[in-house]
Symmetry: C2
Subunit: 358 residues, 2 copies
C-alpha cells in the first residue's frame, strides 16, 4: 500500500495551526550534574526577563539570544525542591515548559527538583510506595462536597484487623489540598521513612483547609464533624486520640494549634510548623486560656512547634512558645536554619513523622 | 490575659513582607447565574490585557480601572468546562487567582466551569463517588519509575472475587497523566454514568503517554509490558481481552490505534478520539497493513473513532476511517459538532463508556 497521502498535509496543518500558536519546545529547567541549573524562556517581544527562585538571595536577569530564547545558568544549588518563577517585564509567570507546578490560590510558580548525590528524604527511591487517593466527602459543616487526599502506606490492607493511626496534615494559607504532596512530597517522605523503619505505617489525610469567608472556626468544625468521621467510616483506623495526630504549616500551623489544643480528647499528637496565629480564632482560643496543664500534658503524647531562624514568623512563634510554656505545657521546639518555605516544611515533617504513634 | 502584643507586629509584618509581594486577592473567574462570566486580572504596569478562551471565537480585550484591576464580562456561555488564558502584553499566563489549572508540558492555562441548569454528565453530583489513586510503577521498558492514575469505581472491593474490567485511557500530546481527570473529569463522568446504570463498574487507568525522545513505539511497549502487568498484579481485574479497553485523545488517539489494533488479543475495545496519526509508528503499523479482517472483527467487540466537524484533524481522521473500512474492519464512527478540544473529549468518553464491557 502506498504511503497515505494525507500524512503530509496533516503534519503541515498541525505544524502551522497548532504549533505556531505555541512557543517552541525548549527544555527548562535543566539541572546539571554539578547542581547548577539552566532556566530558559521564549519570547521575542519581552524587554526584560528575570528569574526569581527560593534558592536565590535576589532575582537574576536572563539574557536573550537572537532566536528569542532567554536563559540563565545559576551556580550549584543545595539539593532540594524549590519554587521559582519568571518575571517577564511586569508579569510573574510559572515556567511554561515545566509541568511541575506550585498551584496556589494567589499565584502560580514552578518547582525545580535538584537531586542529591545521595537520595534525600523526599526523593523518589526504589522502596515500596504508598498511594495517594483523591476522595470527595460531604461537609455538613460547609454544606458542600469537598476534596481531600489520603495517603495509604505501602502494603496497606483495607480489611486489616489492626487499626492504622492517622495524621491529619494541613497546608498553608492560599495553598490547596494538593500542596503537601505536590510540593511537600509528604507521600515520598513517608515511603522513605517507613522503608527505613523510622516511621510507623500510618494514613496521612490532607484536607483543604481554606474556608471562605470565615476560615478558621468553620474549618475546625469541618475537621471534627466531617473529615474525621469520613476517614473513620471508610478506612480501618484507630478511633481514639492515641491514633490521631494533627500537623500543619503556616496558616495550617495555626489551625493545628486551634484544632489540636482545643480537642485534646481527639488528638494525642499536635505538630505545628511555623504557625501563623494572628487570627480571630487563635485569639479567642488562647488569649484567656487557662488549661489544666497536668491533664493536658498527660493527654498529649507529643506537642511540638517548629520554625526557621529566618522565618518571618520567628518572633511571634517564639512568643507563642513562651506563652505555652508559661501555661505549664510540655512542648518540644525545633528551631532550625531556614525561612518560611516548603523546603523547611519538608524538613519539619520528616523530623516529626518518626515521633508519631510510638 | 491581655491580648498578646505580638499579634499586631506579626500582622503588619505579614502584610508588608508577604502580601506586598502578591497582587491583591481578587475573584476570577466569576460565573454568574445567567452563565455570563467576569474575568479579572491585576496589573498596574500592563499596557494591554486580553482574554483568550475556548468559548470565544476571538480574543477579547479587558479594560482596567484606576486600581489596576483589568476585567471583562463575556455574555452567557454554553455550560461546559473551558480552558482560557490571559495575554498580558506579550505574555500568555494562567489566571493567577484560579487554582483550577490546565497543566501541560508546553503551556499553562486555567479552566472555567460553567454549571448547567441541570447537572451535566461531568458535573459533581450527589451520587456515590469512585476514587482516583496516584500510583508509581516500575517501567522496565523505560528504565524508570513512572506515575499513573487509577480510578476505582464507587464501592470498589479490592478483594472481590468478580473481576473488574479496565479501561486504559490516554491523554493528548503534551498533556500529562492528570489531564483526563483534571480537565476531562473522567472520574465524575464515570461516577455519573455508573449511578444511572449506564456504565458498568470498571477501573480507568490513566498513564503518562509521553516518552522522550521516541514517543510512540516505547509507549506501546510500556503499556503492554509494564502498565498492564502492574495493574493486573495489584487489582482484582479480568486478564483477558474482553476485560480490557483502550481509548485516547489526539496523540493518545493515535497511540490507541497503534496499541489496540496491533494487540487485538489484548484489547477487545478500541476507542480513538480525534486521533493524530502523522507519526512514524502509525505509518509503520498501517501503511502496509493486511489484517485478517474477519478474525479482527471477531476479536474486537468495539472499534470506534470519534471526531468533531471543526476538528483540524477531521480530514485525516476521515481518511483513516476510509482506510480501515477498505481493510474490511467493522468500525463505528462518531462525527459530531466541535473542535479538537477537551469539551469534545468529555463527550467522546461519555458516549463510549456505556458501550464498554457489555
Amino acid at each position: 500500500m502506498k504511503r497515505p497521502i494525507y500524512l503530509i498535509p496533516a503534519l503541515l496543518f498541525f505544524s502551522v495551526t497548532v504549533l505556531a500558536q505555541r512557543p517552541p519546545a525548549i527544555s527548562s529547567p535543566d539541572v546539571h550534574p554539578d547542581h547548577s541549573i539552566t532556566f530558559r524562556y521564549f519570547s521575542k517581544k519581552a524587554q526584560k526577563v528575570t528569574l526569581n527562585g527560593e534558592f536565590l538571595k535576589a532575582p537574576v536577569s536572563m539574557t536573550n539570544d537572537t532566536s528569542g530564547i532567554w536563559s540563565v545558568t545559576v551556580p550549584p544549588v543545595k539539593p532540594d525542591i524549590y519554587p521559582y518563577s519568571f518575571w517577564v517585564d511586569s508579569v510573574q509567570i510559572a515556567d511554561p515548559n515545566n509541568t511541575y507546578i506550585f498551584a496556589n490560590e494567589r499565584f502560580k510558580r514552578s518547582i525545580v527538583d535538584i537531586p542529591g548525590d545521595q537520595p534525600l528524604v523526599h526523593s523518589l527511591q526504589n522502596v515500596p510506595h504508598g498511594k495517594i487517593s483523591y476522595r470527595y466527602y460531604q461537609s455538613t459543616t460547609l454544606g458542600t462536597t469537598r476534596q481531600l487526599l489520603i495517603y495509604t502506606p505501602p502494603g496497606f490492607n483495607p480489611t486489616a484487623k489492626t487499626k492504622y493511626p492517622v495524621l491529619y496534615l494541613i497546608h498553608g494559607g492560599s495553598d490547596t489540598e494538593e500542596t503537601w504532596t505536590k510540593v511537600g512530597r509528604a507521600n515520598l517522605i513517608a515511603d522513605n521513612l517507613m522503608a527505613q523503619g523510622k516511621a510507623k505505617p500510618m494514613l496521612i489525610v490532607m484536607p483543604y483547609g481554606n474556608v471562605r469567608p470565615s476560615p478558621m472556626p468553620d474549618f475546625t468544625k469541618d475537621m471534627i464533624n466531617d473529615i474525621i468521621p469520613f476517614v473513620e467510616a471508610n478506612y480501618p483506623v484507630g478511633k481514639d486520640s492515641k491514633n490521631r495526630a494533627v500537623a500543619g504549616f503556616s496558616v495550617g500551623g495555626g489551625q493545628t494549634l486551634n484544632i489540636g489544643l482545643t480537642n485534646p480528647d481527639k488528638f494525642a499528637y499536635v505538630c505545628s510548623y511555623a504557625p501563623y496565629t494572628a487570627t480571630e480564632e487563635f485569639k479567642k482560643n488562647f488569649s484567656d486560656w487557662s488549661p489544666n496543664a497536668d491533664q493536658l500534658n498527660k493527654q498529649l503524647k507529643l506537642f511540638t512547634i517548629s520554625v526557621g531562624t529566618e522565618d518571618f514568623l520567628l518572633e511571634p512563634v517564639k512568643q507563642n512558645i513562651a506563652m505555652f510554656n508559661e501555661k505549664g505545657l510540655k512542648l518540644d521546639t525545633q528551631i532550625v536554619p531556614g525561612g518560611h518555605t516548603w523546603m523547611n516544611c519538608k524538613l519539619y515533617l520528616a523530623t516529626t513523622l518518626p515521633l508519631l504513634f510510638k
